[in-house]
Assembly symmetry: D2
Homo-oligomer: 241 residues x 4
């Protein structure tokens, strides 16, 4: 049941709105939506504008936070987040450390999968913005800390790093991991990838760097072909303790 | 604490053994391992062979089931499983339907992420083999059914299909999905991908087909370069209700 | 020595102009260029505008015709033209048949390599435009014909097809080829590629379809990474008689 | 007309033989081939073994030298040779400098396209082996020199480098090029690519590095899919003077 302040997706009339249940009224080209009336409703219920347009209520999923969440920069792409989840075997028994938080999108994906997520972000204003996204996600197993990852303590099954990587980050990650646990480092540039691989090799039992090239396939009356819009975003190095 | 019948990884002396705690003795080139003595131990404990070699105990993760699980055919690759998890936003609130089960590896990954997984496999001998892997994984939220997916009922947040796809599979998946839920279809061949896209277009709100080309980067004294071993496995179509 | 009507590249002041030697004056933001004065000059000579800006004279290469030639549609990309040249081993002993001509860019590349090129284009207005590019290229070994490829006769070492492909095109190409010669078919869509492969298999001794995914690497102070602008254009099937 | 010593391809009975016309007899599982009788014959003629098997005579093309030529190491792949030809617009007006020669395969491709090719190889034994391939190709416009590329003089339209690259190679190539001419550097490793780009940037007017990822498409009764055998070989940097 939707509570005041909850994030809600309204879908209809060829439009999507990512709103907050509460006392506002949202004016759209399809009429006015009374957001207070969302409270108490549930997924699949209908909200009708003052002039009769109908919108279906949806509870947002992590994919919607990737689309509609506030951003402090370019977030990791879902394809790379998926690779981290799959190549670490992230699951509901895991304690995950994530740094840097950025917009918090990776933390929200991980929070939906793992037992606990602790996410470090050294820039306080980024951490503050990410907290808004995390609160919107209603995930209660994510703790956001505005601090340097190198100060992190504790024991983790997966450490995920998406920051200006230095060798000491890799060494510190190793010290935090449980045996059999995984470090996953996302690096957009080859030089950073080399730093990770050089620091991890020898220290970790296994080190592999992956690049994912993703293409969308298009299909029209003319035929089927790959889209020319291809996404490369970076390299993901997976190292197992 | 390890119980009789639990799957355990033993790591040491440059070797890995995927064993079952119990009354057996495992003979290795590093000496004999008494598997009965695993019972009551826990991750990180040491098992010593009769001649003094030491092996560290690990509780297997989903990645280990991909490596060591029994196989009835080529399972989906982790990169594609990760793409399904990320592009559906699969999380611990989700009821997931998976068909066909195959070796059960995708179901084990999903079981670590979702609230419940129900997995359909029309070939009873495949379902039986997959059950062994699923029992080994100790995931209690996976139900394996040796039946045709077209007979499936209930309501799901994610339906994942990896089978000889026909248009009626896509239509049936639509009927099982909650609003805002996702169908993810894995198809190795282009012709099957076309069947999925044609059946889903119009029915679902959004339809996108992705291809992931994965490369491993290698780094040696000679330099850094992409590996020539590149993995394409198939196409993943994501359709949202 | 440049003659009236010759195409010339003028390079300087951070600009490039693709002009025709003759009686015109070209007004640029760097001053007026007297194109009549190009006649009798040669590559490397300097042309000075009325206000003193200097432009160096270049004789255009095939790459410049790709950039500056008139276009009747999207021409084949150089990467794919290069693949045709390399996979057919096209060389100065070869008689090449090219169809459809399109903008004539592929014919111009081939004309610089082969002994003779005969290029067929069924749409007269396309053939007329292509003739302008071919005349500009000053290649005298290219013959452009505004006719259906199926009417082509003669004997060729390489047949290159970039048109709405039908099985009879493949069969006809076979009949025109010398033993050991190559058919190269460019097809943007998978369905067309399948038509080529199905028609060529059995008929030709060897049939291979290639896809080239090209990426540009970028290198800045931040580091080295693949560009996100990746070009896929189509499939090239190479069949040897 | 085939002369003594000419390379000839014999095709038939599901076999291919790359032979030299002359006084030998070739024993095959299909019978004995009298290679002396090749002299005076021409492409398309038939050679019959002593027991009646028939082989068709072919004059080898550059693609056959890639397949059958002697090798001193891994030669550049045709896809990359094609990219060099296309991105430099190499044509029959061009003087081309090639270094290092390696097995001479790239020089043979270029010799079939350009006016002249001069190829430098610092290792005399490699140059000797390459000469054998070049003589076999019957291309008379290729000059092979067993010397350091840094000692090369003259003026060229295209300089192609496939050697352990150093910044002075790039600078020297610049000095040899005619205005508007192209340097093409093939580098298997990223670190070498960076050397080229750093040395060429600023010096040349345009610098672009390309990576070609090639896949073969397979088509069987089960359907159409990309082959898992994908070829990456290296990076090709194209710089224009």
């Amino acid at each position: 049941m939707i509570e005041p302040g909850d994030r809600v997706l309204l879908i209809g009339e060829g439009r999507e709105f990512f709103v907050k249940a509460g006392q506002n009224v949202l004016s759209t080209d399809k009429g006015q939506l009374d957001l207070a009336s969302l409270v108490g409703k549930t997924a699949g219920d209908i909200l009708t504008t003052h002039n009769g347009s109908k919108f279906t209520i949806r509870i947002p999923r992590p994919t919607d936070f990737f689309t509609y969440g506030k951003r402090s920069g370019a977030p990791m792409l879902p394809k790379d987040i998926g690779l981290v989840i799959a190549y670490t075997g992230m699951n509901h028994n895991d304690d995950v450390l994530d740094a840097g938080t950025g917009s918090g999108i990776a933390a929200i994906y991980f929070g939906g999968v793992a037992k606990t997520v602790k996410t470090y972000e050294i820039r306080p204003e980024f951490s503050t913005l990410a907290m808004k996204n995390i609160i919107d996600s209603k995930l209660t197993n994510i703790e956001a800390v505005a601090e340097d990852f190198l100060k992190a303590e504790g024991r983790y099954d997966v450490v995920h790093l998406d920051l200006q990587i230095q060798p000491e980050h890799v060494t510190h990650a190793y010290s935090l991991l449980r045996p059999g646990g995984y470090l996953a480092c996302y690096t957009p540039f080859l030089e950073q990838m080399a730093i990770v691989v050089d620091a991890a090799t020898g220290l970790f039992r296994e080190v592999h760097t992956h690049e994912l090239i993703e293409r969308e396939m298009t299909r029209s009356k003319r035929g089927t072909r790959p889209s020319t819009s291809v996404s490369h975003s970076g390299y993901v190095t997976i190292a197992r303790k």
